[in-house]
Symmetry: C2
Subunit: 213 residues, 2 copies
């Protein structure tokens, strides 16, 4: 049945091309500038054809979200493999904000555009990409706990959530409030991480190595 396979492959290829072009537009001009007509024009099909491959504009956005999030995860990967959790933490934070600043439109799409989009990553699935990458952050504090450098009885998830909120806040402000946080993002991240780490309950301070680059 080589013929059916070819048709399936061609279909998948067109779908892929649509997504590729859509991504280009989003990256270059932002998600609001992604219109079905412009997209159809760019792939040289009629607008109605897009609806043979995606339910609607939002479905395209969701797919772009998922892929963008995978890119974010990939950027976190190297930092996630550092052994010492106290070294790992600043590296993770730095990689996160670097992704946000280097791919502003992608970051906006994932975290700041439509609540429905991020729901695709965090909401429904029990083990989607969202919770998985969150696990990377939690692991830091689990490791700290295991190493006896974090007070027993504290919840690692909570510290992970606070840290995520912190780095997200830095990126979000930088992306929207033009020039509000006067200090550069790297500096803020460094201050955030070092201060948070130093303030963790029960940390046996062994000269906290909190350099962030």
């Amino acid at each position: 049945m080589g013929i059916a396979e070819r048709k399936a492959r061609q279909r998948a290829e067109l779908r892929e091309q649509i997504l590729r072009v859509a991504r280009d537009i989003v990256v270059k001009e932002g998600f609001p500038a992604l219109s079905m007509r412009k997209l159809a024009d760019a792939v040289e099909y009629a607008p109605a054809t897009l609806y043979l491959h995606f339910e609607n504009r939002e479905a395209i956005a969701k797919e772009l979200c998922v892929r963008g999030f995978q890119d974010l995860l990939a950027m976190l990967e190297p930092a996630a493999q550092v052994e010492d959790p106290l070294e790992r933490l600043p590296k993770l934070a730095e990689a996160y904000i670097r992704f946000g600043l280097e791919h502003p439109e992608t970051y906006r799409l994932i975290f700041m555009e439509d609540p429905k989009l991020s729901t695709a990553l965090f909401g429904d699935s029990p083990e989607g990409a969202g919770p998985r990458s969150f696990g990377v952050l939690v692991q830091v504090f689990v490791d700290l706990l295991a190493a006896g450098r974090l007070e027993e009885g504290t919840k690692p998830e909570q510290f992970a959530e606070v840290l995520w909120a912190g780095v997200h806040g830095i990126v979000a402000l930088k992306l929207t409030c033009s020039g509000f946080p006067g200090s550069p993002a790297e500096e803020l991240t460094q201050v955030l991480v070092s201060t948070l780490v130093k303030g963790l309950p029960g940390l046996k301070a062994e000269q906290t190595p909190t350099k962030a680059r």
Copy 2:
């Protein structure tokens, strides 16, 4: 010239009514649902009439931004007047996130919708509402510095920026990523503030009173 005054007053009144109705729509259905036609319908004028009072839709949004920000400032006011900076800090943070969660659409409009909007608050003017409310946060750390509870040579603005990023991150995640940060916002704020305070460089720990509600 009582007649000219009356005309000016009527003009201002209509402008005000437009803004009032626009605010209602935004609060109830979100900023994207605010269309010029719907707004014109609600104030019982033709759409074109709106353009006699505002340059365009964005001008209306900007005005709503400014007023929303004033509301935020008003909510911060009581907390800002607490004498002890170590007590003031958690109260400010709590008031901030409370505003964000109680007026989600207003908060979105101000900080998460269009970069151009927040620019009206932070960008151009040297002493707009943005920097002024930021000053409230800076003051906390200035006071801490003056009281000798913060290491000399550290920059109060930077800590204020980090704190703002932290609370903004908490609110922003809560507003977009449905149910991502599992912990309630109040808990996260408490952890954020207490951990940050404890981690401040050179704080002469006098039994940090970091209760947040």
